[in-house]
Amino acid sequence: MATYREASLPTGKFVDPTPAPAHSAHPEVGATSAPLKSASFFIGAYCKDYNEDFMLCKDENSNPAHCLKEGRKVTRCAMDLITKLRENCEKEWEAHYKCLEKHNQEYYACRKPERTLNECVFSKLKLEKVIPGASNTPIHLRENTIYN
C-alpha cells in the first residue's frame, strides 16, 4: 500500500457511489477552520485529557480503526466547548475569527479582538491561553508589538 500523496495535475473528483447511510455517522464538529484556529488554545486547555489520550493511543498504533473511541471523545469534547463558546462569547469569537479570515489566518494581525476574546473566555469559562515553552512574556500578552 503506497503512502498517500496529493494529486498532481488533478483531473477530477471521485465520490463514493455507495456511501454509508447517514444515520450511522457519528456527530462531527461543525466549525470551520477560522473559528477552530481562534479557539485552538481554549480547546487545548479544555480537552487536554482527551487529546493526550488520543495522541498516546495513536502512538501505539497508527491504524485509524484502533483509536476510533478516543477520537469520538475528542470530537465530543470539542463540540461541548464550541457550544459553551456560542452561549457565552459568541460576538468576541466571531470578531476574532472574521479578523483572522481577512489576514491569512495569522495570529499577529489580530491581537486586539484576541485580547477581548481572551478576557471574555477567562471571565466566563475560566480558560486561559497558554503558549507552552514561552521564555519571556508570551507574545499575546506583550504591550508594544509591531503589528496590532
Partner: protein
C-alpha cells in the same frame, strides 16, 4: 515659461492604465475570495482544512461556527483523481 501640459498627458495615461489594471485585479481577487484577500503560503494542512471548509459550508471561503456538522458532511468527501503519468 508655462508648464508643458502636453507632456503630462502620456504620464496621466500610463498612471491611469496601471491604476485601472491594479484595481481590476484587486476586485477580481476579492470577488473570488468572497470579499477577503486571498490565502497564501498554504501547506498541506491548510489545503486539507480549506477542503473541509468547502465540504462544511458549500462555498470556498465561507466560515461557520456551528457545533455539529450538517447531515451530508459524513458522506461528501472525495478523492482527487489524476491521470496516469507515463
Amino acid at each position: 515659461m508655462p508648464v508643458p501640459f502636453e507632456a503630462l498627458i502620456p504620464l496621466g495615461l500610463i498612471t491611469g492604465f496601471f491604476g485601472a489594471s491594479g484595481i481590476l485585479f484587486n476586485k477580481l481577487k476579492t470577488s473570488i475570495n468572497e470579499g477577503q484577500p486571498p490565502r497564501y503560503g498554504l501547506d498541506r494542512w491548510d489545503r486539507v482544512m480549506l477542503d473541509r471548509d468547502y465540504r462544511l459550508t458549500g462555498t470556498q471561503r465561507g466560515q461557520s461556527h456551528q457545533t455539529s456538522a450538517p447531515d451530508g458532511f459524513s458522506t461528501n468527501s472525495a478523492w482527487t483523481l489524476e491521470s496516469e503519468h507515463i
